[in-house]
Amino acid sequence: MSSVLLLTAILIPAIFGISVILLPIGNRKVYLALSAAGVIFAAILTWVLIVNPPEGSFVLFKFVDKYAIEFKIDGLSRVFAGLISTLWPLSVIYAFEYMKHEASEKTLKEKTFFGMYTITYGVTLGIAMSANILTLYCFYEMLTLVTIPLVLFTLTRAAIMATRSYMVFSLGGAAFGFISLIFIMVYGDSINFVYGGVFNNPGIDGRENLLRLVYFMGFMGFGVKAAVFPLNSWLPKAGVAPTPVTALLHAVAVVKSGAFAIIRLTYFSYGDDILYGTWVQYVAMGFALFTILYGCTMALKERHVKRRLAYSTISNLSYILFAALIMTPAGLAAALSFMIFHGLMKITAFFCAGAFITRGERHYIYELNGIYKEMPVISALFALASLAIMGLPGLPGFIGKWLIATAAVKDGGFMELIGVGVLILSSLLTAVYMLQPVVRIYFSEKEGELKPAKDPGPWMLIPLGILAVLLPLVGLGFAPLVEFITKVAEGVI
């Protein structure tokens, strides 16, 4: 495999996306097909690259001698790229039917949406395949920019406010990430991602605490996208975007890019040598643990279905961060596994919430009362996703929590043990906020005047069906996946 294919995989969605926007195509089917072709073509190519990763890296261009835009696929890239390359095609297919509801008659608006949606895939792949922190940073900033039109889509006042908040938080956060980047450039051996970190030179003697502080800045900066408290208020607001955006970007791609960047920073730039067992580990962990509880509590309070799921995402993302911050291979493996499991579960839940919105105008939880009679398939899938998220054994959520908790107990520090308690408390809160809608769907009587609802058509049901099969499959047959991820986390792959 030639390493130039890495760039190809990133460029394909971008080219297809730009042509969807710019070419004068009036026929809906044609531009849908075009964007789907871009996504699916790139996804297939990415999977080929994941299975046969090319040796070496591909340098796009050099700024100066040491600093280049460079792509490489390593174990971590394979995990993240695999996750998004599985979910992106499903989301595009889901969007075909969903967007009919959002943008009837407005071709240009819808074309922009599909174009940007496709481009975003390329940018996220860029994040996954970055070979150094500079490249990652560039694509990370680009991700913010290309997703702005998607959040802004409805052009309502709420959407504008949400976009403003998203922009301010993301760009501001990236600035802190930039400080971290500068320190890596100045003090690190190189800017490349090296398992175990790049601070192995004598130049850092006596500056460890400064570096830890800068790491913390980077953590919080990239933590904006991973929705660490107190920098997460943009995420629930961004729920005004169309569901394909909230489901894929705000539960998987964008937010997990944040978590991915933090993992890169922790394990591949700074390295556990200067972080493990120091104040910065515990402070960062404290923020992650607090966010877990904060997200759960807010989710419990929230009555809007999509916003509740968004708060749930905030909480679950911090599971990933907590696991990553254990700073052992087991912890990293747990973080990456939970990243995948959470992606599958949450996207299913969001797709169901989207179906409730398009097919029944149900936005709030109390509007879901007794809806199983009208939408039996979606109700069942929502129940499945809920049970998975709350951690029923046999579904992915349980295994994710099991991996995180055992990694934490094995490490055995004080914070880690508190973390296990927090995990359990948050599971209980999760059970409350996810079971409540399920109980309402199945056991409460319909109240008030509501439009009649019905199950969506095949374009929405097919992606959901695939996910519904994947959930128990992954929940029970996770062993090979986790084995692979463990090798990645140990630096073997």
């Binding site: 054994p393 296990v420 109980v439 056991f443």
Partner: protein, 423 residues
């Protein structure tokens, strides 16, 4: 367990596997008798109610998950089915779809998951410490109780299973769920589902960690105090409770803690007492709830005082009620007597404060039990001279009477030939 069948090996630590041993037999006896009885009872009781399909589906699924629980060969399999049982039994509570029923069912779910996650906490800690979760009588000795954190985690697991068994302070779901649930569902909840909690503790302490593991910890005293408190408190609250089904729910809380008390003694004698109490209580409480159900159905009333003179119309059912009540109190020849006798001996053998507090609490609770259960028998047969008999007899369907009778006989059998059930 000697032979196990592994259905699915998830990874090195977690597998879904089944096996059969002595305790599986006991638990299976309880579950099968109770679910079959409830199913037969439902034929008569549920006539004319709505949502029968979902009722039968969830009753069957709950039964199935409990059977799987009995056959579980390791803690993970047990836990998996424990959660499934919770999820499948909640719809039975919410059966009527009224606001109260849904709220009570939701409360039941949340309390149960609180318990389940406390168990999960311990499960995580133990598996992080590298425990082997298979069931072997006397313990697997895979980890030692060296750190206080581990024993605390085990204590949390006991508390978690205690939620299902109605241990104070996690008992209140029982009294919310029972009055609104349909009667066969109450019978299942109080007869079978609560025993899943006791079974969990038995599996954990006697079949996985070994009784010695926990005996040395400080928490064991706390646990004994909690159970004894619950024994007395449950009886006391039952005594002051006018609603029939709610009174029985408090009675369940009290009686279940007899089992937990027996287990907390961590001695063979206490273990035997707990198993006998489990059997006797399951059969008699299931019967009592069925009886309460038919009384409520024929009279349309819900308070204990409303059932004055009911023995004149339904002498046979009230006789069954009396026998079960005697078992609850602990009067020979019923199963309750032999169980409580074992428990008393065990607590005297243990020595220390339980040698005093145990017998005192059990005695007080027995008196209170007599005081809250027997008045119905007396008033039922002897309503007094000024009682006016109304002539609106509704017949009790045979399909309701038969399971009641069978369960009552079983409850007596436990008292006469306990070895039949234990061996």
């Amino acid at each position: 367990m000697k032979e196990t069948f592994t259905l699915l090996k998830l990874n090195e630590d977690l597998s879904i596997s089944f096996g059969f041993d002595e305790f599986s037999g006991i638990f299976l006896t309880v579950v099968t008798f109770l679910f079959v009885a409830a199913a037969i009872y439902s034929c008569g009781y549920m006539k004319g109610k709505k949502h029968l399909v979902s009722y039968s589906v969830f009753l069957t699924l709950a039964g199935l998950s409990m059977v799987c629980m009995a056959f579980a060969a390791n803690l993970f399999t047990f836990y998996l089915n424990y959660e499934l049982m919770t999820l499948c039994s909640a719809p039975l509570v919410m059966h009527d779809r009224t606001k109260e029923a849904v709220n009570a069912g939701f409360k039941y779910l949340i309390y149960s998951f609180l318990g389940a996650y406390l168990v999960l906490f311990g499960f995580f800690v133990l598996s992080g410490r590298g425990a082997d979760f298979s069931f072997v009588f006397g313990g697997t000795d895979s980890i030692s109780p060296d750190s206080g954190f581990t024993t605390m985690a085990v204590f949390f697991m006991i508390l978690g299973f205690g939620v299902k068994a109605g241990m104070w302070p996690f008992h209140s779901w029982l009294t919310s769920a029972h009055p609104v649930a349909v009667s066969p569902a109450s019978a299942i909840l109080s007869g079978a589902v609560v025993n899943a909690g006791a079974a969990g503790i038995i599996r954990l302490l006697f079949y996985n960690l070994g009784p010695e593991f926990f005996a040395v910890s400080r928490f064991v005293t706390a646990w004994r105090i909690l159970t004894l408190m619950t024994v007395v408190m449950g009886s006391l609250l039952a005594f002051f409770e006018p609603l029939m089904k709610k009174r029985l729910a408090y009675s369940t809380i009290s009686q279940m803690s007899y089992i937990l008390f027996g287990l907390s003694l961590l001695s063979p004698e206490g273990y035997d007492g707990a198993l006998l109490q489990l059997l006797a209580h399951a059969f008699s409480k299931c019967a009592l709830f069925m009886i309460a159900g038919v009384f409520i159905k024929v009279s349309g009333l819900v308070r204990v005082s409303d059932f004055k003179g009911i023995g004149k119309k339904h002498p046979f059912i009230l006789a069954c009620y009396t026998v079960c009540a005697l078992s609850m109190i602990g009067i020979p020849p019923t199963g309750g007597f032999i169980a409580k006798w074992h428990l008393l001996t065990a607590s005297l053998e243990t020595g220390g404060f339980v040698a005093v507090a145990g017998p005192v609490c059990l005695l007080v609770s027995a008196l209170l039990t007599a005081a809250y259960l027997l008045p119905l028998s007396m008033k039922g047969y002897m309503p007094g001279h000024d009682f006016e008999y109304k002539n609106e007899d509704k017949k009790i369907p045979v399909s309701c009477a038969v399971p009641i009778a069978v369960l009552t006989v079983l409850c007596v059998l436990v008292g006469i030939i306990p070895d039949l059930f234990l061996k």
